[in-house]
C-alpha cells in the first residue's frame, strides 16, 4: 500500500520511497523517512493534495507523490 491509498484518519509506517532521487530527497527532508509513522489528516476535493502528519509536522502532498511513499 502507498500513502495515497491510506484512508483518512489512519496511520501507516513508511517502508520505502520510490521515484527519482530528486523527489525522494525532498520527501525525506520534509521528514518522510523510512520507519516513521505517517497519518492522513484530510484530503482536499477533486483529487487535490492530501494533508499528512509526521511527528509534529503537517504537510501537503499531491496524490502522485504520495503514491511514491510505500507503507509497510
Amino acid at each position: 500500500m502507498t500513502l495515497a491509498d491510506l484512508p483518512t484518519g489512519q496511520t501507516g509506517t513508511i517502508a520505502s520511497l520510490a521515484g527519482d532521487p530528486e523527489i525522494r530527497t525532498r520527501i525525506q527532508s520534509l521528514g518522510l523517512r523510512i520507519g516513521r509513522d505517517v497519518a492522513v489528516i484530510r484530503r482536499s476535493r477533486f483529487g487535490g493534495p492530501i494533508q499528512v502528519r509526521i511527528g509534529t509536522t503537517d504537510l501537503l502532498i499531491r496524490p502522485q507523490q504520495a503514491a511514491q511513499v510505500i507503507l509497510a
Partner: protein, 595 residues
C-alpha cells in the same frame, strides 16, 4: 570583517531571526556565482563589525532546488567564519538533519533553537546540554518573534567568533554520499535530547482548520477572505493614493512651475510632463505596495497561504500551477506590481515565471477606472454591470489560457510539498519591515526604467513641439497612423490608438489622455466618446486594454523579478498578440453577426 552565514529550513523563522539580529539595516548584495538577491547586514557584535548573510531557506544541502544550489554555491565561493543554523524547535525530528549535514563541512557552527515558546506550549522538552554533548556545537534557545533569548544568541556568536579560526570556503563534494549514515545519527541525537508528548499538535490550529479546510465551506470562506482583504486594501489604499497625488500636484503647481516659469517652454514641458510625472508614477504606487505587503505578510506568515494551496491546488495543478499562484493572481486584481513581487515565495523558477505570466491579466484597479468610465458612457444602466462582469471573466480566461499554452515551456520541476504550519499572527513590526523593504526595493530597481518610459512617451506625444500635444501631427499621431492597418480591423481608430500608447505607461492616464486627444474637459468626455464609438468598438477597445501590457511599472517589476530580458519580452509580447487576436475575433465576429 568576520562573516556569518545564516542557514535553515523554510518556515523556521529564519528571516525573523535575521531581522532581530540586524535591525532594519539589511541590504541586498552581490555575491560571486549567485544571481538571486541575498540580504546581508553589518552589525556591531562585541568589539568588531560582523557581516551577517541570510541564505535562502533550504531543506537539504544536497537538494536539487534552485535555493539549495544558491546556498551551496555561496558556501563554496565565499569564506565564512561561522555557520548560524536556525531550526524550528517544534520540529527537531527533521530539522536537525540539516544541522548534521552542515556540520560535516567542518566549519564552526552555532545551533539556534527558534520558536522555543511554541515548543514549550506543545509540551516538547529539549535537553540543550544533551544536544551540545552529542553535536559538539553551542546551542541557544530563542524566540525571534518575541525577542526572547536574543542576548544569549549574540553573546554565543561573539564567543564562537572569538575562537580563532581562519574563515574558509566549504568543500561540498566529499560529503555528498553520507546522507544515510546521517539518518541514523539523527535518530540517536533526537532520542537523546528531545521528548515529544504523544499529541503534540496545536489544538487551536486543528479546530480552525476543521472550518477553513471544510470540504464544503473551505472554498467559499477562501473567496470571502480574499474579498475582504481586497476591500481593505482598496478602502485604505485609495485615499492614500489620492493623498500622494494631491501632494504631488501641489508641489508641481506651487513649487516646480513657478521655479521654471522663465525657461524654454520645451524644457518646461519636459520637466513637468516628462520627469515630474515619471517620478509621480513611481510614487503613486508606494502606498498600495506597502498595504499589499502588509496583507501578503498576514496571508503568508499566518500560514493561510498553504491552506489556500490545499483548497485550490486540484484546479491549478491542471494548469501547471499550484494553489499559491491563484492567491497571487487574486492579489493582482488590486495591483499587479506587488502580486508579481509576491511570487518570490515560490521556489521553483518555472512555476514562478508561469505565475508571473498570468498575473498581468488580472484586471487591476487602474484598468477598472477605464472600464467603469466606458461601460457607463456607452452601455445602459442594466447592461453596464454585466459588461463589467464579462471583463472579469475574460481576465480569468486569458490567464488560464496563457498558463495552458506556456506550462510546457515553463515547466514546474518541483513537486508540491508544502508545510502546513500552525496558525501564527505576524507582529506589526514584522509586517511593517516587510512592506518597507519591498517599497525600497521597488524604488531602487524600477525608478530608472519607469522614468525612461515616461520620458519616451512624452517625447512621442510632444514633438514636434509646435502642434498640440498628442494630436495626429505629433510623432505619436504619426505612429498611430502607421499602425492604423493593425488597429482598424479591431474597430480602434487612430485617436484611440494614441490613448493605447499612453496606456502603456499607466492605465490611470488613459482617460486623461483621451480628454487631451479629443480636446474635451473631463465632464464632456463621456458624451464625445459615446458619440464617436458604438458599443462594439468600445468593447473591442476594452478587451484590448484588459489584455495588453498593464503598465510600465509591471514591465519594470517583471524584469526586476525575473532578471531576464527574454522572459520580460515574452511577458510583454504575448499579451499584445493575444489582445490583438481577442479584439479582432470579437470585433469582426460582432460585425459579421450584424451588430
Amino acid at each position: 570583517m568576520k562573516r556569518v552565514a545564516l542557514l535553515g529550513m523554510p518556515n523556521t523563522g529564519k528571516s525573523t531571526f535575521f531581522n532581530r539580529l540586524t535591525g532594519a539595516s539589511a541590504k541586498v548584495g552581490n555575491w560571486p556565482g549567485i544571481t538571486v538577491d541575498l540580504l546581508s547586514a553589518n552589525v556591531l557584535l562585541g568589539s568588531g563589525m560582523v557581516e551577517i548573510v541570510d541564505l535562502p531557506g533550504i531543506y537539504n544541502l544536497h537538494g536539487f532546488a534552485e535555493d539549495e544550489r544558491v546556498a551551496r554555491t555561496f558556501l563554496e565561493e565565499n569564506p565564512v567564519d561561522l555557520l548560524l543554523v536556525v531550526t524550528n524547535a517544534t520540529q527537531l525530528d527533521r530539522q536537525l538533519a540539516l544541522a548534521l549535514q552542515l556540520q560535516e563541512l567542518g566549519q564552526p557552527m552555532l545551533l539556534i533553537l527558534n520558536m522555543i515558546d511554541e515548543a514549550r506550549r506543545l509540551g516538547i522538552k529539549i535537553d540543550e546540554q544533551a544536544l551540545v554533548d552529542d553535536l559538539g556545537v553551542p546551542v541557544v534557545s530563542v524566540s525571534a518573534k518575541h525577542g526572547f533569548g536574543m542576548d544569549n544568541a549574540q553573546s554565543a556568536i561573539i564567543e564562537a567568533l572569538g575562537k580563532a579560526h581562519p574563515a574558509r570556503k566549504a568543500q561540498l563534494e566529499k560529503v555528498f554520499h553520507e546522507d544515510d549514515a546521517l539518518a541514523s545519527r539523527l535518530e540517536q541525537v533526537f532520542h537523546d535530547a528531545v521528548q515529544v508528548p504523544l499529541t503534540a499538535t496545536d489544538r487551536l490550529t486543528d479546530r480552525i482548520d476543521r472550518v477553513l479546510l471544510h470540504p464544503w465551506l473551505g472554498l467559499p470562506l477562501f473567496f470571502l477572505a480574499m474579498l475582504l482583504m481586497f476591500e481593505a486594501v482598496y478602502t485604505l489604499g485609495a485615499p492614500l493614493q489620492d493623498g500622494v497625488a494631491w501632494v504631488l500636484e501641489a508641489i508641481k503647481t506651487d513649487a516646480v512651475e513657478p521655479a521654471i516659469s522663465g525657461w524654454n517652454p520645451v524644457l518646461q514641458s519636459f520637466i513637468l510632463d516628462g520627469v515630474f510625472d515619471g517620478i509621480g508614477t513611481v510614487l503613486s504606487f508606494l502606498p498600495i505596495i506597502i498595504l499589499f505587503f502588509l496583507f501578503i505578510a498576514i496571508v503568508e506568515d499566518s500560514g493561510y497561504m498553504s491552506r489556500a494551496a490545499f483548497l485550490m491546488d486540484a484546479f491549478m495543478s491542471r494548469l501547471g500551477l499550484d494553489g499559491r499562484a491563484f492567491v497571487m493572481q487574486l492579489m493582482g486584481f488590486g495591483c499587479n506590481v506587488p502580486a508579481l513581487m509576491g511570487t518570490r515565495v515560490m521556489r521553483s523558477r518555472g512555476l514562478r515565471l508561469l505565475t508571473m505570466m498570468i498575473i498581468p491579466f488580472s484586471l487591476c484597479s487602474a484598468r477598472l477606472q477605464v472600464f467603469v468610465f466606458f461601460t457607463t458612457a456607452i452601455f445602459s444602466a442594466w447592461a453596464a454591470p454585466l459588461v463589467l462582469f464579462s471583463l472579469y471573466l475574460a481576465s480569468f480566461l486569458a490567464a488560464f489560457l496563457t498558463a495552458l499554452i506556456y506550462r510546457k515551456r515553463l515547466p514546474n520541476a518541483e513537486p508540491l510539498l508544502l508545510e502546513l504550519p500552525p496558525y501564527r499572527f505576524p507582529t506589526i513590526k514584522q509586517m511593517w519591515l516587510r512592506g518597507w523593504r519591498e517599497v525600497a526595493h521597488f524604488v531602487r530597481e524600477a525608478t530608472g526604467f519607469i522614468l525612461l518610459g515616461v520620458i519616451l512617451v512624452w517625447a512621442l506625444t510632444h514633438s514636434p513641439f509646435d502642434v498640440p500635444p498628442a494630436s495626429p501631427d505629433t510623432l505619436a499621431g504619426q505612429l498611430a497612423s502607421l499602425f492604423a492597418p493593425v488597429f482598424a480591423p479591431l474597430g480602434i481608430d487612430h485617436l484611440m490608438t494614441i490613448a493605447l500608447l499612453f496606456g502603456f505607461v499607466a492605465k490611470e492616464v488613459v482617460l486623461g489622455a483621451m480628454a487631451v486627444i479629443y480636446g474635451a474637459g473631463d465632464t464632456d468626455l463621456a458624451g464625445i466618446v459615446s458619440g464617436r464609438t458604438d458599443w462594439v468598438q468600445a468593447y473591442s477597445f476594452m478587451l484590448f486594454v484588459l489584455i495588453y501590457t498593464p503598465c510600465l511599472s509591471t514591465v519594470a517589476v517583471l524584469k526586476q523579478e525575473s532578471k531576464s530580458w527574454r522572459f520580460t519580452g515574452l511577458a510583454v509580447g504575448w499579451p499584445l498578440l493575444l489582445a490583438w487576436m481577442v479584439s479582432f475575433t470579437f470585433y469582426q465576429g460582432a460585425r459579421w453577426l450584424g451588430f
